[in-house]
Symmetry: C2
Subunit: 326 residues, 2 copies
């Protein structure tokens, strides 16, 4: 089978490609060709016997999507997009990449007429405050960011294009991915990962919000599991509502820190310095807390069961199983 | 003030223009200029002292929207669009007109930067089955047609563009408009009007579904009232959720027919011939029945209170107050 990943140079895209390379297949079928697309050249994983093509470009550019799907991939993972902060600060770019790029890809598939499975990464940013304690699968979508709006529009297109039979789409709404590897970034959600990643590495981390803040997390490994699982789902079993809120671990920041202390000792937790930031606190108060995610669980999507498990996953996948500065 | 109506040659657009002409103003301000846009030339109402411009074109065409809003109207009524049946039978045209046209208009306003009030006619087609007995304002949107998808996407854009301050948008989700004047058409919902309009005119009408079917209706006059009311709403009072389900009269087909018999006599009701149509019945079963519409009512939107009133409105507005063939 042939597989296409857009956004293949991003954190999740790289991990997905590595996973597919390690397994050599998807849903029990061998992968004979893998197309990696992004606005920069994605690194090709080591995958003997599989033809790997690296494509560089912008899906919203005239003809780019048509060219990309001309090889008629059996499964398309559409991860490409600009992140929340950039979509808010650069209105035109956010709509061009996240809406026009997605629609161009969907339309290229529609016109080519080969009906692949298409897995799209949406986001819990489709939801807007005020929220109930636990957000059910039928909670209405009233995004409060341009990013969330673009994800909601893409979800609506995915459902309609699937209903029409142009492709067999599954949209997965990712919770916050934690622990993100790499350096701290400027995203408002960055601290959720920083307060774990940095202390595990012997470094100080800043906590800008109260410990009572509750949020839902899943590991990068879970995100890849969701994508792989979605690729093989029975579309009939999913039914017409093609966009699914993924499961995750709903915990307070205080519980995150308790888990860190259990796993890496109180000296690790002591590296977290509280430095309240009103701007970040104001943003975070509009974020959803916990999700029911019953439909996704019933369809077999699984995440970690505790934040301890999320930290252990990070230690295994990013730190070679060892805590502490290299 | 300057007012622009898109879709001005359509049934609601014509009635809105006539109403504005009769009142000479909107929200207490005199209308000094009125722009009427459609794909065919809209008829200009008699409006002495007001400069009326008739524009013909397609909003999705390069530069068309920019040209249309160059005169910086204070209020824009965006009614233009292809109807449900056509959006389903011609996929590309539906998306071009209902999505690209709407987005082009919104973007032209954004780029011109004059921040008008923008009233958009959405539809209860944003909702998809299964439904509760009464659909609340927080019911989730899972459209089951391309038309409903296009309306949902337009709503999402309207909310985001309003949040960004590009314009001050209000989306109104219209229930089925009944009694539609004119000839019967091929729309699946056509019978709701036919079974009233034709008997009032001494003609036979066909009822393709059981009398137990429940549906929500508002008159063309109410639709115009909604638009005029929306034009003067306080955006702050509406808040970030800019799309409102309009009130209407939720009745069974049997109750529609009883109202007809009360007003026009049993001989009028006897002109309705039951001729079950499985295709129409299958479509209608996926339509929503009753709406709570509490937010809209709280914001001062009003519809008829009974189906009798809807029939009386039709007799006043379309038949010159007289029942029977002219």
């Amino acid at each position: 089978m042939r597989v296409l990943i857009t956004g293949a140079a991003g954190m999740i895209g790289r991990k997905l490609a590595t996973r597919l390379a390690a397994e050599g297949g998807l849903g029990g079928k061998a992968i004979t060709a893998l197309d990696l697309h992004d606005i920069v050249a994605a690194q090709a994983p080591d995958m003997p016997g599989t033809g790997i093509s690296v494509h560089v470009g912008d899906l919203s550019e005239e003809g780019a999507s048509e060219k990309l799907v001309a090889s008629r991939p059996d499964v398309i993972f559409h991860l490409a997009g600009v992140v929340s902060g950039e979509a808010e600060s650069d209105f035109a770019k956010g709509y061009r990449v996240n809406l026009d790029g997605t629609r161009a890809l969907f339309d290229a598939v529609r016109v080519a007429g080969f009906g692949p499975r298409l897995v799209f990464t949406s986001s819990i940013a489709v939801f807007g405050a005020p929220f109930p304690d636990v957000i059910g699968d039928d909670f209405h979508c009233t995004p409060m960011t341009s990013y969330g709006t673009q994800k909601l529009i893409s979800e609506a297109l995915l459902a309609d294009y699937s209903r029409r039979g142009f492709f067999d789409g599954i949209g997965i709404r990712l919770p916050t991915i934690c622990v993100r590897p790499g350096k701290a970034n400027l995203a408002a959600s960055s601290f959720f990962s920083n307060i774990i990643r940095e202390p595990l590495n012997g470094q100080e981390a800043i906590l800008p919000v109260p410990r009572s803040v509750v949020h839902t997390h899943a590991s990068p490994r879970s995100a890849v599991n969701f994508l792989v699982h979605a690729a093989s789902l029975d579309g009939e079993a999913v039914g017409p509502r093609r966009n699914l809120t993924m499961p995750g671990v709903g915990v307070s920041v205080g519980e995150q820190i308790e888990a860190l202390a259990r796993i890496a000792g109180p000296e690790a937790a002591a590296l977290i310095r509280e430095e309240p930031n009103e701007t970040i606190w104001a943003i975070v108060q509009n974020w959803p807390t916990r999700f029911d995610a019953r439909r996704a669980r019933d369809l077999g999507f699984e995440s970690e069961k505790s934040f301890d498990e999320i930290i252990e996953t990070h230690i295994e996948d990013e730190l070679g199983g060892e805590i502490g500065p290299g």
